[in-house]
């Protein structure tokens, strides 16, 4: 009986020892050297793996950052300046200048402005709908409202409004990672320079049709009438392809173009309400 025990224990010990030896040599042979700083950098990154930097995940960005000579073109849009400063400190390099941005939707075609001309009966997926047809309205550039951007957003910054059927982007939650920009098959989402108090002035339309068809399809479409371009004193507005575009770096938020736009396709957001100058004057005249 006791010999059985001894033999068993001996056999098992021998096997364990052999396995340990083999494991040791295998581990030596397949050892991969990794710069320990990659782990340090990765620890600082936000770990959202959103892909906003252009890499598959935070680890890949960390590897690229450690390898790179300068931070040219490498930045974490989510973490912003503070994270990049820390990364620079670890790697002993100059931190890059990061300009905070925010995503905006360049379409304002809610049902009250865009009449429905057909009903989409398929999978709620913008890319599939985009491959199939121009959309439920006459506008072949506008938002489907099927929420590819919502699904792409790793920060829950976007939801589809039940009233307008359009995505709403939260200024606080948006980290400008750009995932929604890539997800949108119609390229309706733009990352714009962030301004004080989250103020925004932009053309909420992407319709490249001529004025007539654009207007017929949607009441708030840009009809490329050139009025905004003329009124802008800072050369911030360009009209290309029947569509106006406001350059956020040149715009001074004077709001002249907003009142000038005949279709109301230029939106002003987070501004204090205007003084009702015009109406007051009208009343005084009447009086």
């Amino acid at each position: 009986m006791s010999s059985t025990v001894i033999i068993t224990v001996a056999c098992l010990s021998l096997i364990a020892f052999l396995a340990a030896v083999i494991l040791y040599f295998v581990a030596q042979k397949f050892k991969v050297f990794e710069d320990p700083r990659i782990d340090d950098v990765q620890a600082i990154l936000p770990a959202a793996n959103c892909g906003g930097c252009g890499f598959a995940g935070c680890r890949n960005l960390a590897e690229a950052l450690v390898k790179a000579e300068t931070f040219e073109g490498l930045t974490c849009p989510v973490g912003g300046a503070s994270v990049m400063d820390q990364v620079a400190k670890i790697l002993g390099k100059e931190p890059p200048v990061v300009e905070p941005k925010v995503a905006v939707l360049r379409c304002n075609g809610s049902p009250e402005f865009r009449a429905r001309t057909s009903i989409y009966e398929g999978v709620p997926d913008c890319r599939i709908a985009h491959n199939l047809f121009q959309g439920e309205t006459d506008c072949s550039y506008g938002c489907f409202g099927l929420g590819d951007c919502v699904r792409a957003c790793a920060f829950e910054a976007i939801y589809i409004s039940t009233e307008t059927g359009l995505p709403v982007i939260s200024d606080e939650k948006c980290v400008s990672c750009g995932a929604c920009v890539k997800a949108c098959p119609r390229k309706l989402i733009e990352l714009r320079k962030k301004a004080k108090k989250d103020r925004k002035i932009y053309v909420a339309c992407s319709n490249c049709d001529k004025g007539g068809p654009a207007r017929r399809a949607c009441k708030v479409a840009c009809i490329a009438c050139l009025k905004c371009q003329k009124v802008c004193e800072f050369d911030a507005i360009k009209i290309e392809n029947n569509l106006a575009y406001i350059d956020a770096t040149k715009c001074t938020f004077c709001r002249k173009c907003v009142t000038e736009c005949p279709t109301g396709s230029i939106l002003e957001i987070n501004f204090p309400p205007r003084k009702p100058k015009v109406e007051v004057q009208a009343e005084t005249v009447n009086a």
Partner: protein, 444 residues
Amino acid sequence: MLKTFPIGGVHPPENKLTAGSKIQKLDIPATVAIPISQHIGAPATVSVNKGDSVKAGQVIATSKGFVSVNIHSSVSGKVNKVDTLIDTSGYKQTAIFIDTQGDEWLETIDRTDELKTEIKLSSEEIIKKCQESGIVGLGGATFPSHVKLTVPAGKKCDVLIINGVECEPYLTSDHRLMLEHGKEVLVGISILMKALKVNRALIGIENNKSDAIEHLKTLAASFQGIEIWPLKVKYPQGAEKQLIKALTNREVPSGRLPIDVNTVVHNIGTAFAVYEAVQKNKPLFERVVTITGKSLPKPGNYIVRIGTPVNKLIEAAGGLPENTGKIISGGPMMGKALINTDVPVVKGTSGIILVPQDEAGRSESQVCIRCAKCIAVCPMGLEPYLLMSLSQKDLFEKAEKERITDCMECGSCSYTCPAGRPLLDFIRLGKSTVIRMSRERVVK
């Protein structure tokens, strides 16, 4: 045992409501809108201006490049404008709008019904004539026919296959053509044989059209080398690769063309158009369209001028029923849903199907129960459930390895899925993404 293709296939209800209705002429509409892109390949270039007078059969847009064909006016009248309108693609496309005045054809066109059997043109002349006359595959794919007739250097064709399968439910335009214009179709096939320099042609016809099979068999006795083969009824037998497999047992390798197994496939409708172009000098500006649907008072088969809005066709068939929920251009398995009834009939429009409101919707998608029916019915031997989930998860490289590009979008998988899953919707998305990715790779 009737021949058929070996793997997969489904049996949707046939619903050939119009199999017995004679082809009628549809009245010429007051205006037509002729899109300049009615074929696969480069759109034609507009060659008329606003205010020009045109005759039926006159070229109004010229082919641009080899894979492109001419577009002809289908009516006589004045060019009103060149503008955009929504066509079967679901997007706005450039089209030429013509206001009709009378019905004057080009003088060169032979308007008689006389059958001309003697083929005077040479092989090269026939191919050239096809491009000039705007002949494209009329089964629905609208691939320019002259491209298929031009056998590339180093390859040879030994048998011509004619697709008289019409495996889509509802559609009967090819069926009626075979019955009413059998002789013309057979002459057309002889012309195609001459162009390809082959002496054997096989016509595959599904067994549910026994009258057409009998009729063509009697006629074909006086034509050299044309054989009629009845086939077992199974969808999608009309698909090129499946038809070749059924008739000749040759299997077109993945990613290759029928010419790689020494065959060329043309459609019955194309053969008829080729006859008209070559023997009668008449370009392709009208075609047979089936207008059908269970709710329609008078479904039928009509000869329709290209560019006629669909609503004219619906009017002729008894008017749009109140409860119409969906209008399909083409068959119910592969056709496209139309956005409105102003969409014009184009070269690829084989039928218009009206679907009532209660049948137009889709059932709710449920979880996959892994019943494997999609795999069993896939005629290409793919795994639709897997391709769908890969596309859903954006794993396009994997989907490419699973040969997503072999999918020909026949819809058998979505048709058969008991859980009502939108398999093909996602597979299409994956397929188009994979094709785009591989093109980008080539560019790099």
